[in-house]
Amino acid sequence: MEKLILIFISTVLINNFVLSYFLGICPFLGVSGKIESALGMGMAVTFVMSLATGISYLIYEYILLPWNLMILQYVVFILVIASLVQVVEMFIKKYSNSLYQSLGIYLPLITTNCAILGSALFMVTRKYGFLESVVFGFSGGVGFSLVLIIMAGIRQELEDADIPSVFKGAPLTLIVAGLLALIFMGFSGLISS
């Protein structure tokens, strides 16, 4: 149990996927315009990430390892992620059309979200068990959502601010992202082993 909590805290805050591994930057910059769409995106990624990591673990442990097919891990993980994204897309389209519209192109782009493939690959290299993998994927998604929502909040406030025109739009977003990454570095001493 202690290990699971450690995994959770370290993945959400200390080794955050976006701000310390710089994975999943594309949706981080693309969908962080409004808090509602950031929340929806975060939930979709969290769902896909925890499921993908869990299923990837099962496939890796019970199919790839016994048959000695480790070379296939990238292809198989992508396959799992792509199918899951399709499922999530169908669910969202069915049950919340407005969320579907606001996520737009970024929803199918979760397929190529490197944070999700990253979580599956980290799970392999760190030799996590099944439960640990699921918690790792889930907390990765939670960390992603957290950063996305913080970013969306900041960007919504900045809409009303008087910004020099050279910094408007993408430049300021990148500066804010860099500052957020610096802030999250402050968490690095949170757990002492």
């Binding site: 199919i63 097919l69 198989v76 396959l79 499922v87 169908m90 389209k93 069915k94 059309n97």
Partner: protein, 276 residues
Amino acid sequence: MKEIEIVVLVLGLMGFLFSLLLAFLSKKLKVEEDSRVEKIIGILPGINCGACGFSGCAAFAQAVVKNSKIFSGCLPGGPQVNKEIGALIGVSEVANVQNKALICHCGACDKEKLTSTLYQGPLTCAAAHISGGALDCSWGCLGLGDCAMACPTGALVVKERKVYIDYAKCINCGKCLRECPRNLFELIPVEKNKPIYYVACNSKEKAPVVKKACSKGCIGCGICVKLPGSPFYLSENISYIAYQKIPSPEIMEDARNRCPTECIIKVDSPFRKSES
């Protein structure tokens, strides 16, 4: 078994299983879309020009199904497309949809309109219109080509500061109408296989001012208005054509020949190839 066989088998099986799952779920979670949306998308030209005010043809189709009043919103499609959409969603006033043709209310080229100052600002009409320096006439075409830049089909060409419209390419999307800072463009109703006439001047100044700035401007003399049965009328020192009156070609030709500044223009076939 060789390794490659195992690889193919494992990956193939996995892909097959996932695809089965997806096929099952797509049946189960199918969203019932209005079947008319698909049909309307099929009718629309599919060029996503945005002239209707929506982000593309698909967005327009969805909006039409919800609000049938905007059925004639597709300008490039023209009456044929509008009629089909109207019929599909059951709008009754379909018959009133008319063919349109684009005209430019300035027909003077570089030599004919005077420029007495040197303009060195940004080479866009929008900027030149603010300073007004690029042309003596404060109503006519600045000739810097904002309309040609905006035109999605390359139907507008600006040569010697005059706009030439290639009717074979023009899709009546109306982007130039919004782009021109001097509002020179207009979409006028046309009838099949008939020429169109229009007054190629936009200057609302009195005759002496117009004459000073341009040799081809409408001076508001009223010769065209006085002809019997004329559809022309004067307003703010400029002649307009009331397009709802359908004049005989003889009157229009007569008016064109009598215009002292030759600013009534005739276009023989303002149609796309598919229409004529």
